[in-house]
């Protein structure tokens, strides 16, 4: 045995309360008192082990120090996988640390030592629950749980996979709990407290298994810690401070019946710490001795207040070695190296000692397989794998699975092997392409400073990096940074996706008078005032921004949906829409009396509602603007006529209308005095409709003309009455007239149907592909398929969705698949499903699930967020907001998990009913990732089963091979790698992989 006291390990003479060696043996942590805070230090193990390394100046000794604990640190413990370090202290906190790889060396600001931290360990979680000093922390086998005990008399078990979720709080001790140990097979946890008791708790139901008091009756609360330990074979639990015949002992408690017949005797003062060697040993076979197999035994180190250390082998009656006067004060903690041949011991006197044993002294350590075999023999296979299975030792049963696992490992390695320095450099020195030096030079000039209401200076700090561990990902590697709490980020986030969307707004505000260009509005350019229109025209020509289909939108929403529509509109299949408005006078005339009479009769409520619905264009942001704009843009037709109905809206909104024009142009432009209006069907290729009412008068009857320009080719047609709204798509053009007639023309102007008589005046008209959607003023909805000459929705009343609430229709659209969608002012959006003939709720802005669902970790970096597609349009940005809110709320994990699951299933169902295949696929992948992460076996299996369908063809099967035009088996193929990421599902993975393979063979 060799003994060493590395003088360089210390906290400037302050007490060291805890020591723990990293599982890989390359470093160790100490915890204790710092200058004016608690202190955790991570040290390099090599200089302890090798003298030449100790002497080599180039070998760093201290790797990192953390002064974050506010008071003395009582315990530091590495997780079994070595990724995390947990520390608990007098500040009542448990902190969990993880190594940060993106940040280069740094010093603790203001610390007297100028040594840079070689490694960066960052606190990833703070566990707050204890109301008193935390005395001990312990990771369960396989790092499933982390337990902490405190002078508040409780033991808290934390879910180590979902910090800071609390699994349970073990109550029962009536004194300060000062030590914890897990059963190596994970069935129990034991705690020792100042209340003269040692309690064993079951992990199955977190109830007390046994309470041992007898050996502790004589004990006084005289030790700082009571670190007990469980033997690696699980058979013995050894307590700290116990008494036997007035002498201090370490009590041995047998697992079998919790018998207390043996103890370690000899220390002159209370035992503070017991620590079993992680290895099980067997006797060294000596040459010549009989080959009789010896019984395996364990090795245990005991430290005491009497400043001495004893090391025991369970095969010997006497200690292997006792070392006196190793320290000036009580021993506080002991840690074995993983190979079982070395121990570090720390003391209240602020020093650390290292003992190095040889195999001759301790025996031959059993390897992991032999140790597992012992566990299996004693506890059976089932128990040994009760906890999350030993994933590392789980046999991978299938080559495909192996392949995926290996790929994952390779990726991981590739990520890690990126030069650390380079990464750190990237992060610290470059923000948005600007070097940190540049930023610093101009920081004072650039930083945003405002005055608060009471006149105080307020500086907005410049964010130079986001936290890079745990949930956070470094800003630079994440294309869409999630900045919680800063709603202001949303526009820019959007704009990063669609610069056209912002450039629109910008251009309007910055150069409203720039020379207009483009198509039809050239002649109007001379008017000067038309710049807004022309501007919109030129901008929009590029960006297809006018394809929106809303009757009323807030600006943000507008950007949003415009972008989405744009990305959906591919040449040739572009959507177009045009929301026509009911002529105002007729609306008023018709509905006023109704409104008066309807107040007392419930059944007429819809009418009243449809009135408010029709009145929408009165809003200053609404239709009136376009009217004004229209007037500005095309003043050649009877200015006076347009002005005469002076009761109309004022003109003050003109400038605003200019900026809003692009947004509003797609909307209806007809009120009763609108004589001429046009609307865009698509921008690429440029298609637009122009309607001129009162085009000519033939024998007293006024004729209207509809002109259509499609890729430079124009056609026109005459209509016998005034057109109030028009809409078109790549395939058809539809116009609604004031006499409730709806006419449909082909792309080249051929009339496809005789005029359709509508049940009421047209309110909103949409076209998409060969579908026409009509929303009438009497609150009915119809959708026709012109190509097949069939009705998809027949005069469906909106009463179902409007009844019982005081809401109005705020937005409507027709998807490319002909599904009508209507959103209401209540924030709810519905689509009408023609096979079920039901209204289905697809979005609800008040939905609690949306606000609390947290599926961020299921988002893959490869998927761009789908902001295109009808579901995204309807849900808009409340989705993002929900994600942000979830970060701030502190919902219990299980509840949040449930909410997220429910939310994701909603999304999936909504995408399905909207027939939006892109969105369906997107949400399916997220859903699958979520199920895999949460380990929802049944749901995942059902999902796979549905996607695979029957392997053998049978006539009775109702299984459809495709959904929304996506082949289900292709979807399954996409899901499999996701499933393969969790080894627990390897059977599932294999099963479906094989079946897919089989089917491909067919």
């Amino acid at each position: 045995m060799k003994l060493l006291k590395p003088s360089w390990v210390g906290h400037n003479g302050k007490p060291i309360f805890s020591v723990d060696i990293h599982p890989d043996g390359t470093k160790f942590a100490t915890g204790g008192q710092g200058e004016d805070s608690g202190k955790v230090v991570i040290w390099n193990m090599t200089p302890v082990l090798r003298e030449e390394a100790e002497k080599n100046e180039a070998t760093p000794k201290m790797l990192c120090q953390m002064d974050n604990h506010l008071a003395c640190v009582n315990c530091v413990r590495w997780s079994n996988n070595g990724q995390y370090l947990a520390s608990g202290g007098d500040d009542k906190l448990v902190m969990v640390w993880k190594r940060a790889t993106f940040i280069g060396p740094s010093t603790v600001f203001g610390s007297s030592s100028k040594l840079a931290n070689v490694e960066q360990w960052r606190c990833v979680t703070i566990l707050r629950n204890h109301t008193g000093d935390v005395m001990d922390v312990a990771w369960s086998p396989h790092d499933v749980w982390l337990a902490s005990c405190s002078v508040d008399n409780t033991v808290v078990v934390w879910n180590a996979r979902k910090f800071p979720e609390i699994v349970t709080s073990l109550r029962g001790h009536t004194g300060l709990v000062k030590g914890l140990t897990w059963d190596p097979v994970g069935k129990y946890i034991a705690s020792q407290a100042d209340d003269h008791s040692l309690k064993v708790w079951r992990t199955m139901d977190w109830q007390q298994e046994t309470n041992i008091t007898k050996p502790f009756n004589e004990c006084g609360g005289t030790t700082h810690v009571l670190r007990l330990s469980w033997s690696p074979d699980g058979q013995y639990l050894v307590s700290a401070h116990a008494m036997n015949n007035s002498g201090p002992t370490a009590q041995i408690i047998e697992r079998d019946g919790w018998k207390t017949n043996m103890d370690f005797v000899g220390h002159r003062k209370a035992v503070t710490v017991v620590k079993f060697n992680p290895k099980i040993f067997k006797k060294k076979q000596k040459n010549g001795s009989s080959p009789k197999p010896s019984c395996p035994y364990c090795c245990c180190a005991v430290g005491s207040k009497d400043r001495s250390l004893s090391v025991w082998l369970t095969s010997l009656k006497r200690p292997l070695v006792v070392i006196h006067d190793l320290f000036d004060k009580s021993i506080m903690d002991i840690s074995w190296t993983l190979n079982g041949l070395g121990i570090l011991v720390c003391s209240m006197d602020g020093t650390v000692a290292y003992l190095d044993f040889s195999q001759d002294e301790l025996g031959d350590p059993l390897n992991e397989d032999e140790k597992n075999a012992i566990h299996h023999n004693i506890y059976g296979k089932s128990l040994a794998i009760t906890t999350e299975a030993q994933l590392s030792t789980t046999i991978i049963e299938n080559p495909e699975m192996l392949k995926y696992q290996q790929e994952r490992q390779r990726e991981e390695l590739a990520r890690q092997s990126l030069p650390r320095e380079a990464q750190a450099h990237k992060l610290t020195s470059v923000v948005n392409g600007e070097s940190l030096e540049d930023i610093r030079k101009n920081l004072l000039k650039k930083q945003v400073e405002t005055r608060t209401a009471d006149g105080r200076r307020r500086i907005t700090p410049l964010c130079i990096a986001q936290l890079d561990t745990g949930d956070f990902s470094p800003a630079l590697f994440n294309s869409v940074p999630i900045l919680p709490g800063s709603v202001t980020q949303l526009p820019s986030q959007l704009s990063s996706d669609s610069n056209t969307a912002t450039s629109l707004g910008l251009r309007h505000s910055q150069e409203p008078m720039s020379t207009p260009a483009g198509g039809k509005s050239q002649d109007d350019a001379k008017d000067g005032v038309s710049s807004g229109l022309a501007q919109a025209n030129s901008t929009a020509l590029k960006s297809n921004l006018l394809l929106t289909a809303s009757t009323k939108m807030e600006p943000m929403k507008a950007l949003d949906s415009r972008f989405t529509e744009r990305s959906k509109a591919t040449p040739g299949a572009s959507i177009s829409s045009m929301a026509g408005l009911v002529p105002l006078d007729s609306t008023l005339k018709e509905s006023k009396p109704k409104e008066e009479t309807s107040s007392d009769s419930e059944d007429k409520m819809t009418v009243a509602r449809s009135l408010s619905f029709k009145r929408k264009p009165h809003d200053p942001d609404g239709g009136d603007n376009q009217v004004e704009k229209r007037k500005k843009g095309r003043p050649r037709k009877s200015d006076q006529k347009m002005m005469t109905p002076g009761s109309g809206p004022p003109l003050q909104q003109v400038t605003r209308a200019t900026t809003l024009f692009a947004r509003t142009a797609a909307r209806a432009m007809s009120t009763w005095w609108a004589i001429l209006f046009y609307c865009y069907v698509s921008m690429e290729p440029p298609v637009y409709l122009e309607v001129e009412n009162e085009f000519s008068t033939v024998s007293g009857a006024k004729l209207s003309q509809l002109r259509c320009s499609r890729e430079g080719r124009e056609w026109d047609t005459l209509l016998p009455s005034r057109v109030i709204s028009a809409a078109g798509s790549s395939d058809i053009v539809a116009v609604a007239c004031v006499d409730r007639m709806l006419s449909v023309f082909s792309a080249c102007g051929r009339r496809l149907l005789p005029a359709i008589l509508l049940p009421g005046p047209m309110s909103t008209l949409h076209c998409s592909g060969f579908y026409v959607m009509a929303l009438t003023a009497c609150a009915t909805l119809s959708v026709w398929d012109v190509q097949k000459q069939s009705a998809l929705v027949r005069n469906e009343s909106l009463q179902t969705i409007l009844s019982g609430t005081e809401c109005t229709v705020t937005q409507s659209l027709l998807t490319q698949q002909g599904v009508p969608v209507i959103s209401l002012s209540s924030g709810k959006s519905y689509c009408f499903n023609f096979s079920l003939e039901t209204w289905n709720l697809i979005a609800d802005k008040q939905d609690l699930l949306v606000q609390c669902a947290d599926f961020r970790n299921c988002l893959s970096s490869q998927d761009t967020a789908v902001s295109h597609g009808p579901l995204a349009v309807m849900q808009g940005r409340c989705l993002n907001a929900g994600r942000l809110a979830s970060r701030l709320s502190s919902t219990p994990h299980s509840l949040q998990q449930g909410m997220t699951l429910a939310f994701l299933e909603n999304q999936l169902a909504s995408a399905l009913i909207l027939r939006s295949s892109v969105e369906y696929r997107y949400w399916l992948l997220i859903y699958a990732r979520f199920l895999v992460n949460e380990g929802s076996d049944y749901r995942l299996r059902e999902l796979c089963k549905d996607l695979l369908g029957p392997v053998h063809k049978s006539a009775s099967s109702a299984w459809e091979p495709t959904t929304l035009g996506l082949r289900k088996r292709d979807l399954l193929k996409e899901l499999l790698p996701v499933i393969g990421q969790n080894l627990r599902f390897q059977r599932l993975f294999t099963e479906y992989q094989d079946q897919l393979e089989l089917l491909r063979g067919k």
Partner: protein
Amino acid sequence: MAKVQVLNVAVLDNPSPFGNPFQFEITFECMEDLPEDLEWKIIYVGSAESEEYDQTLDSVLVGPVPAGRHMFVFQADAPNTGLIPESDAVGVTVALITCTYRGQEFIRIGYYVNNEYTDPELRENPPVKPDYTQLQRNILASNPRVTRFHINWEGCAEKMEDSENVDPAPNSAGSSSGMLPPSSCLPGKALPVGLLPDNSMDFL
């Protein structure tokens, strides 16, 4: 555990004429989004004798502060010379940067400041009435003294527990532990010059 860690303070424009504004470039890291602003202050200690001569040069609110690493430059005007006792104008004094959250101070960064004439002539025979235009201010940027205080980050000041606020290893003034006694003492009290640690006065 403090939610905000000060990572670095760079003293800009140093040394500089006495009348120049103070400029500190502060880098800090925040573990969680802070619902409220941080309040930073620069306090200039006019005289070591009494805190009565302390001047708060300026205070700013800094926010919003989402989780992450942030930096800003805190600039504040030079002290009002009228409030500095003439006898203390030349020599060593202290500038403090403090940060409070919800009215509770959680960090105090102290710098020794040396004011002296650049002109050897004046240095030899300083005028009775200090000539501030000739004074140069030199902040000992390499040796900040940082004192951290435990505060209640979740709630307001009243839940503070004094016991935790006390320096666990009480030091006499001038030891390396902190520039100043913890907040139980009134802020702004400077050390008597004679007790300054040797290493901090390299430039004297």
